[in-house]
Subunit: 238 residues, 2 copies
């Protein structure tokens, strides 16, 4: 098989990060990296003799600082985010339907707003990396960062649930040890969306009454600066 | 992408059946087919212009009659099972480590006895089809058909949990709408194996006190005759 696929986990933020590569060319991408794990990623790239070409974000995370800033200093990779994330520092501003190429591999961008206005999912081969739009058995919250439950419902039902049932769902987080789902499984078992009207979903999401994420005040501004380390240091010092 | 992957579900027996094909040659295999779904499989083969080369079984099922008998009448496919299943009618008797080729694709046989003595798993690319050895969050029972909890523990821990964490786990059944797991996920979340010693697992399995499968008296003899339709008709008429 001519591809590399590694699923990595940051215990502190329960973030799932994905390393994909075309083994022939060695060109690789990293989806939703975490600053604290940058040394691990650099070690893997070296061990597997890979050349990082893109640092992709599904959105401006509120629970961890992206590793993109640190990784960009040590590699030639370009940073890329959805055009509506507010991360004007990103090298590539992605729109729905855009393609990203690494080696002979193709990623297609799917706009999946709702958790935040700028959320995108990345479809690659038979996989979709859904960020916080669609989680295993659930979905991202919609009560901060411009969240909109109605838009999230549309993203999940009209952009993700229309993919083939066998499509593998790889989210940005899981808190219960789960690591993969499929569109078919989510259409059957997701606790928030199937069997619920858009209005009922909006009411559910508007009444979750969750505490704010611990790191939101640091993470969102740092991520909107593409994880620039100086920005992080400034924030930590303030 | 040059492969076909379809996951099919038989509602009556909650069986998951897998159609894999090399799209270039059109050569295909069917894993754990169900007699009642044969028309669906034949329709799919026709629609996708595929040529079935193997009808694979993970074991002699106790809960449904294989579709292999019916499919063999209508295709040129060979039937293949683990050599210790007692299905001497199968064209190919598989041993641990054997390879099966369809088009340019390769399947590797892994002996995973315990649910029954003849159980095998099939590893293909980054997937493993585990039959009833490893289910999502659980495992097959070991209280009939020569089941042996100790052997199953060894199969799961020494043959399956040693695969890369990203390896996708596709079982023969799920009763809760789940469709896929991974080795990493099962090592973290399986309710029977992780954190349990072999002895504790044997005690757990020996005390499940499950009712016998509804179809065991019909299904096992029919499957040991490779789903020969005359055998099924005889059984239904008796």
């Amino acid at each position: 098989m001519s591809i590399v696929f590694r699923q990595l986990f940051d215990e502190h933020s329960s973030t799932l990060t994905y390393l994909l590569a075309d083994a022939l060319s060695g060109d690789a991408v990293l989806i939703d990296s975490v600053a604290e794990q940058a040394a691990l990623y650099l070690g893997l790239l070296q061990e597997l003799k890979l050349n990082l070409v893109y640092l992709l974000e599904t959105h401006a995370h509120a629970d961890h600082v992206t590793g993109a800033g640190l990784m960009k200093e040590r590699t030639d990779a370009l940073t890329a985010t959805g055009r509506h994330t507010g991360t004007t520092c990103a090298d590539v501003q992605l729109a729905d339907g855009d393609t990203l190429v690494f080696g002979d591999e193709l990623i297609r961008v799917i706009a999946t707003p709702g958790h935040t206005p700028g959320c995108v999912s990345y479809r690659w081969r038979h996989c979709v990396f859904t960020g916080d739009a669609l989680l295993i058995g659930g979905c991202g919250r919609t009560d901060f960062q411009g969240g909109d439950a109605g838009r999230l419902y549309d993203s999940i039902t009209q952009r993700l649930f229309v993919l083939p049932n066998e499509t593998l769902v790889y989210p940005a987080h899981d808190y219960k040890g789960r690591r993969v789902s499929s569109i078919g499984q989510e259409k059957l078992t997701n606790e928030r969306v199937p069997g619920r009207s858009k209005q009922a979903f909006i009411e559910l999401m508007d009444n979750l009454k969750l505490p704010p994420p611990r790191m939101i005040d640091e993470a969102v501004p740092a991520n909107q600066r593409c994880g620039d380390q100086y920005a992080i240091i400034d924030i930590h010092a303030s």
